[in-house]
């Protein structure tokens, strides 16, 4: 842990140089937080590789890309509304990001009950998201007959990229739900009373990252 309080350090460019000077601790944050950020950085590259691969394929294919807006439409009794399910999923994830931010705040106020409750709510929204994704996948596989190797709507690569990208994101959300539940239980049990509640912020970083990735998937895969 840093012996120098962050407040006494210089800020801005001068602080940047000072922090990287020799024989010094560079990051004045708990090590868990620095490690989470570095993990998220590597995850950024993984998702970027998927999305860049998708871009490359979509640029080079000679066949029309399937009409995404129509494929992902959902009808509530009446005419199909384009991208409705995806829009709801987006709002569910943003809502969960908000409750997560609240949880971090309550954690630093050492309000264990509220912190755990908000984390469980966040996890519940995450579970709802995964459930909706399962519904979307089964609709695509069973009703629309989309396969990783082909479909009736256009470019055959559509399926492989859809299942790969949304599947990888869905796994991240599922792991996040478990991670949140575990940390929330430990908060409730009072495991962090001595250590402090940075862990809630670190868990929050992971959760916000999942939301962040969805922003890019939503823009490039569903809207483009």
């Amino acid at each position: 842990m840093s012996s120098v309080a962050t407040q006494q350090l210089e800020t801005g460019a001068k602080g940047f140089v000072k922090d990287w000077e020799s024989d010094k601790q560079t990051f004045h944050v708990p090590w868990g937080k620095a490690m989470m950020w570095i993990f998220l950085l590597s995850d950024t590259f993984i998702f970027s590789c998927f999305l860049v691969g998708y871009m490359n394929v979509r640029m080079s294919t000679r066949v029309e890309w399937p009409p995404v807006s129509e494929i992902f439409s959902l009808s509530l009794g009446g005419a199909p509304i384009p991208l409705l399910l995806i829009a709801i999923m987006t709002f569910v994830l943003i809502t969960s990001s908000g409750t997560m931010a609240m949880a971090v705040n309550m954690g630093y106020r050492r309000d264990r009950a509220k912190t755990a409750a908000l984390m469980f709510i966040t996890a519940a929204f995450g579970a709802i998201f995964v459930g909706m994704q399962a519904f979307e996948w089964s609709k695509l596989i069973i009703e629309e007959g989309i396969r990783p190797w082909g479909n009736e709507f256009g470019a055959p690569q559509f399926g492989s990229f859809f299942f790969m990208i949304t599947g990888f994101h869905g796994i991240h959300v599922s792991i996040g739900v478990i991670y949140l539940a575990v940390v929330a239980l430990k908060v409730l049990r009072g495991d962090y009373e001595k250590k402090g509640y940075e862990i809630v912020e670190i868990t929050g970083l992971y959760w916000h990252f999942v939301d962040l990735v969805w922003v890019f998937i939503f823009a490039f895969f569903y809207l483009w």
């Binding site: 842990m1 309080a5 962050t6 800020t11 602080g15 940047f16 990287w20 560079t26 990051f27 004045h28 944050v29 708990p30 937080k33 620095a34 570095i38 950024t44 590259f45 970027s48 590789c49 860049v52 691969g53 871009m55 490359n56 979509r58 640029m59 080079s60 294919t61 000679r62 066949v63 029309e64 807006s69 384009p82 991208l83 987006t90 709002f91 943003i94 990001s97 908000g98 931010a101 971090v104 630093y108 007959g145 190797w149 082909g150 009736e152 402090g196 509640y197 940075e198 912020e201 970083l205 916000h208 990252f209 939301d211 962040l212 922003v215 890019f216 939503f218 823009a219 569903y222 809207l223």
Partner: protein
Amino acid sequence: MAEGQEHPLSVYFWIWGLLFIISAFSYAVDYFQFQGMLRWSLILIFMFLKAGLIVAIFMHMVWERMALAMAIIGPPVVLLFLIGLMAIEGDYTESTRFEYFGADAGVYAEPHSLAASEEHH
């Protein structure tokens, strides 16, 4: 040890609201079927706004020290090179496909779509 990132709740509520509004806007881009340059630029603007707000406020990057911020935000910048290179490559692949498969894209697509439709009908 100093406690971590603690900020007034009102900040989060503001950003939360903004994220909802921006998401609604980007959904509207599709709902009202904007096309062409307007569509792409709106999608990108809303995307970067949302991503920026999440990283800056929800992930507290604006309040972190520069050493950490640069270590995390700097490396992804090289992705621009990857995107650029892959865009050039994608263009080239498309041009070779034009050259070898001709202008009629449907001929090239036929085997795949046939295989897919045979399977579940």
